[in-house]
Structure formats: structure tokens, C-alpha cells
Amino acid sequence: MKLKPSDLDKIAQKMRSVTNLRKGTARIKITVHMGTCGIASGARDILSAFLSCVEEEGVSDVLITTSGCAGLCSREPMATIEAGDKPPVKYVDLTKEKVKRIFKDYVMGGKIVEEYALAIGSERVL
């Protein structure tokens, strides 16, 4: 396959987004909880849905990562979304449809989808 100049632009754009994520300059960080409980509940599909949303929207400032069990196994699949200085939002009982809505409304639009959120803010041990 021969590369055209337009292909090089596309590759450059794609790599720029990867570099942004590596540098930690992401505007939004999405953490999908991938403990055993999360994976057994469908976290892989949820992560895949978030990745598809990023690709469809063509955004380069959204970092998607994973973590272990958050201690609420019965509410998996779960994701925590951190946007800039705002408190993190924990979304629970996720489905692919809910992911699409959360991505559109919160990640792209900045509006928290309250009906899917379990909590807003960080946990603290008192």
C-alpha cells in the first residue's frame, strides 16, 4: 500500500492524540474499574464502548484507563470520570447505551448524567 500526503496527515493527527494522552494533558480522565467483579459484569464491553465514542467523536484530550475493584462489586460495571478541577463522578450499572449518553452529555457537553451516577466527589475514610 502506498501512502499519500493525506494519509500522513491522518497518521500525524492520530499520533498527536496518543502523545497528548501519554503526556497527561488530557481534559477528561475515564477510569473503567476492571477488577474481577467488573470484568465478570461486562467492563470490557464498557471500555470498548468508551473507546468507540472517542474514535467516533475524534477527540484527542480524553484519557481512558483502568483500575481495580472499587469496592462496590454489586454495582459493576462502573466508571469514574474526572474532568479538570471538578469532583470525580462515579457511574454504576453501566451499559453500552448509558456509555453513549454519558459520553455525549458529560464528556462532550459537560453536563452530569445524574440518573446514572452513584456519587459525585471523592471517598474519604473518616
Binding site: 476492571m34 474481577t36 470484568i39 470490557r44 471500555l47 470498548s48 473507546l51 481512558i64 484507563t65 481495580g68
Partner: protein
């Protein structure tokens, strides 16, 4: 877990949490010998002898504040259900190898599932880790 690709994702997430920077997944299927072998090898922080012996115990975990550790024990259960076994080799500071073998045609054998998706997800979310995924059709260990 519905299929083995989810178990593998779970075990590899453990490897990454153990600091692995290189993870190799080998899947070997031999229809003549009716056997499937899965080997996951990492260069994470490894386990000592006591941790290796306890790894398949669902009530053992190295995570603080937790009482259960189900990842390897569920993987082992999936292997044992087919008459297979799981062997864990590890050296502190060097890495861990988990080798699970399955009886391919046992009624309780889980499907392999979507390994390409598991590897895609791992590569997309852990860009600082190198993953090697090799599916062998003829080779047996």
C-alpha cells in the same frame, strides 16, 4: 466469567498492577491431544513461595483492605472443571508465569471468547506496557 478471554484479561490486569512492562500471552490448542494451554508470563514484581501457594485461595489477596482475591482462583476453577490444572511459577523481583491447561472437549470447557478484543483493550489502555499475543495451532509445550 463467560469465556476464557475475560479470565485472561483479569490475570493480565493483575500483571500490570504488579508492575509488569512486558506481558506475553501464549495460547496453544491441540485437537489431537484434546488440550488447550494458556500461558501468561510477565516481568512484574513476582511472588514469594507463600504467595504462590495461596494464589488459588479465593480468601487470599495482597491488596490492602480487601478480604478476597478471585482472579486466579476463578481461572483455576475453570481449568479444574475440565480436568485440567493450573501451575504458577514466580520469582520475587523477576516475574510470574501462570500456565493453565484445559481438556478441550470437556462439557464444562468455556469458549475462548474474543481474544482480539482483550488484547485491543489492553493495548489501548496500557500504552506503556508491551503485549505479545501468540496463538499457536500446532505447538504443544
Amino acid at each position: 466469567m463467560y469465556d476464557l478471554s475475560l479470565h485472561i484479561l483479569d490475570i493480565v490486569e493483575n500483571s500490570i498492577r504488579a508492575g509488569a512492562r512486558n506481558v506475553r500471552i501464549d495460547i496453544m490448542q491441540n485437537t489431537k491431544k484434546k488440550r488447550l494451554d494458556i500461558i501468561i508470563k510477565d516481568d512484574g514484581k513476582g511472588m514469594d513461595d507463600k504467595e504462590i501457594r495461596s494464589a488459588c485461595d479465593p480468601f487470599f489477596t495482597t491488596k490492602k483492605g480487601k478480604k478476597v482475591g478471585l482472579g486466579i482462583s476463578l481461572f483455576a476453577q475453570a481449568a479444574h472443571a475440565t480436568g485440567g490444572e493450573i501451575i504458577i511459577k514466580s520469582q520475587k523481583g523477576k516475574g510470574t508465569e501462570v500456565h493453565a491447561s484445559f481438556n478441550l472437549y470437556h462439557p464444562d470447557m468455556k469458549p475462548l471468547g474474543d481474544m482480539d478484543e482483550t488484547v485491543r483493550i489492553l493495548r489501548a489502555t496500557h500504552r506503556d506496557v508491551t503485549f505479545y499475543y501468540i496463538k499457536h495451532d500446532k505447538y504443544m509445550p
